[in-house]
Amino acid sequence: HRSPLNDFQRLRATELLAVPADPPPPLPERGSAEQCAQRCAASLACRAFHHDRQSQLCQLLPWTQHSPRVQLQKNIRYDLYQKKDYLRDCIVADGTSYRGTRATTEKGLRCQHWQATTPHDHRFLPSPRNGLEENYCRNPDQDKRGPWCYTVDPKIRHQSCGIKKCEDAVCMTCNGEDYRGTMDHTESGMECQRWDLQHPHKHPYHPDKYPDKGLDDNYCRNPDSSERPWCYTTDPGREREYCRIRVCTEKRPRSLNITTGCFRGKGEGYRGRVNVTVSGIPCQRWDAQTPHQHHFMPEKYPCKDLQENYCRNPDGSEAPWCFTAHPTVRIAFCFHIRRCPDELGAQECYHGHGERYHGHVSKTRKGITCQPWAAQAPHVPQISPVTHPEAHLEENYCRNPDNDSHGPWCYTMDPRTPFDYCAVKPCSSSMVPSVLENADAVAFERCGRRDERLQRKGR
């Protein structure tokens, strides 16, 4: 049930460019990514492949990003798959499969080329099958201490390279939600299922849906705030299992932006004392299992501050939340805690709607740089110095050429934010006339109508 893609590491929208002097790779062939992986795995020369998702073509490559005279380049057409053995800087088991480029021993001695027989004569000469390449550390004799090499020091024949095991190479803090290492086996030794595949286990953690969770290839991760990193397994009889990852002793946990009177983002750093839901139900203590049973026990989540019955966000939910003391209401968000202000402090002010603001502020309230009014990118402006010559649309300064009632604004340099209001505030002496006016006769066209029979039927 394992996918042949398990042996590969994927880089999305990436192409591997080799210098023209190299022999050209074979012509592309039709196939799914899994079929390409099968072909590449079966070929001794193949180390990576490009997969064109649209045309379902793959091109096998005899090099990886670590090969000389090769460079990575963004290309939305291709996904690049490279054999893990050539990319890892840690070892699995005794490291026999290690094909990395480490070329110094644990004591810092330079390795002798495998094809050389001086200063040390030996029998491990390179062949297409044994992976003995350049002077890279290898383990051709299944040495228990892992990859090694002959050294260039005539007095020291060989030495271990001291390459760490993958489970020890990258450590984790707290519950390992930020673990981004390359461990791809569970604690019982089962191989992990790739996050981008739905077999043998169907699951909701598709990498596209969780771009911030690092769901790369089939590496152990903790996208759901479990106790430790885990993965779905390639065994159909075992859905998921924890991985054994070393806990950091040297690294301090990433410091959260701690707040008490309000919360930022999703409120993972909220450490205030609100302990009641908006509907007035007290929160259940985190160390209690009644009325609701749960796995967020304070001792298992040392970095989440699950004190008393305070609203907290230990699992990356939308906002701080708690289990409630009401048996029929399991969880409630604490949206009644206000959000901390997240806008830039304004240095300048404007009168009225700011239609006569001619200042030099050129950043939005979120700190994004304004697009010059005369520019055509990243946004094609509908208002420009040409269309509004009287509006003083100079440089990228905030202006209000359309008399927007919410103040000066600008097009922004962020491709995802066409326009936004600026970091300027209304002057305190400025009086804007009351907006509350009497209702005029109004009419609507194609909205606000519903089938009232459904309403009656619903009731």
């Binding site: 849906k209 969780y210 908006v278 906002a319 209401v329 959000r339 934010t417 109004v442 909205c447």
Partner: protein, 228 residues
Amino acid sequence: IVGGQPGNSPWTVSIRNRAGVHFCGGSLVKEQWVISTRQCFSSCGADLAGYKVQLGTLFKDPGPGDPVQQTIPITRIVCGPSESQLVMLKLARPATLNRRVALICLPPERYVVPAGTICEIAGWGETRGTADGSVLNVARLPVLAHGECNTALRGRLKEGELCTAPLRAGVGACEGDYGGPLACLTADCWVLEGVITPSRVCARTDQPALFIRVSLYVDWIHKVMKMG
């Protein structure tokens, strides 16, 4: 909704997180645009990959065979003017309008809903045991004059807020309803006059309920839709 009844509100949408769990409401103002409240979202630049809106169903968690349900990914969030606490969500594709999915009208700019106008709130939020929480509930609330509300709140009412009159029976929005509509019937059409915003207590008796006054931000809403 506390004190409501199961009902039909074809412009009310359920906003679902990556796990598919409902967490806030919203209103469909254009085939590809939903209005909700800032409090429901982590930031104005939040990556909402995996977040979706669900439309066209009365059930909070409809079965896979629900024939009229539409689920559409959210592609972008745009935050409103700072004091508005509004957000607009752009959908990955236009919603299909039908008997169960409809657009709600936007009020004219700076329009003031006359006191006494009957409006509706709708949502899949907490009912506090007053109704079936697995279906969309709707409750009716009359609009309170701005001056009267300001007096009741000892002058703390902002122009960008809209009040409904206090009721003896506890009727109002609650957790899970935030971002949803206060829809008022004007000229035979339902108009999005207010947006439900988090408050400290649900459905407090004898106290006016506060909503974001949408008519103040209609120019911004049109500008966002125009600029795409």
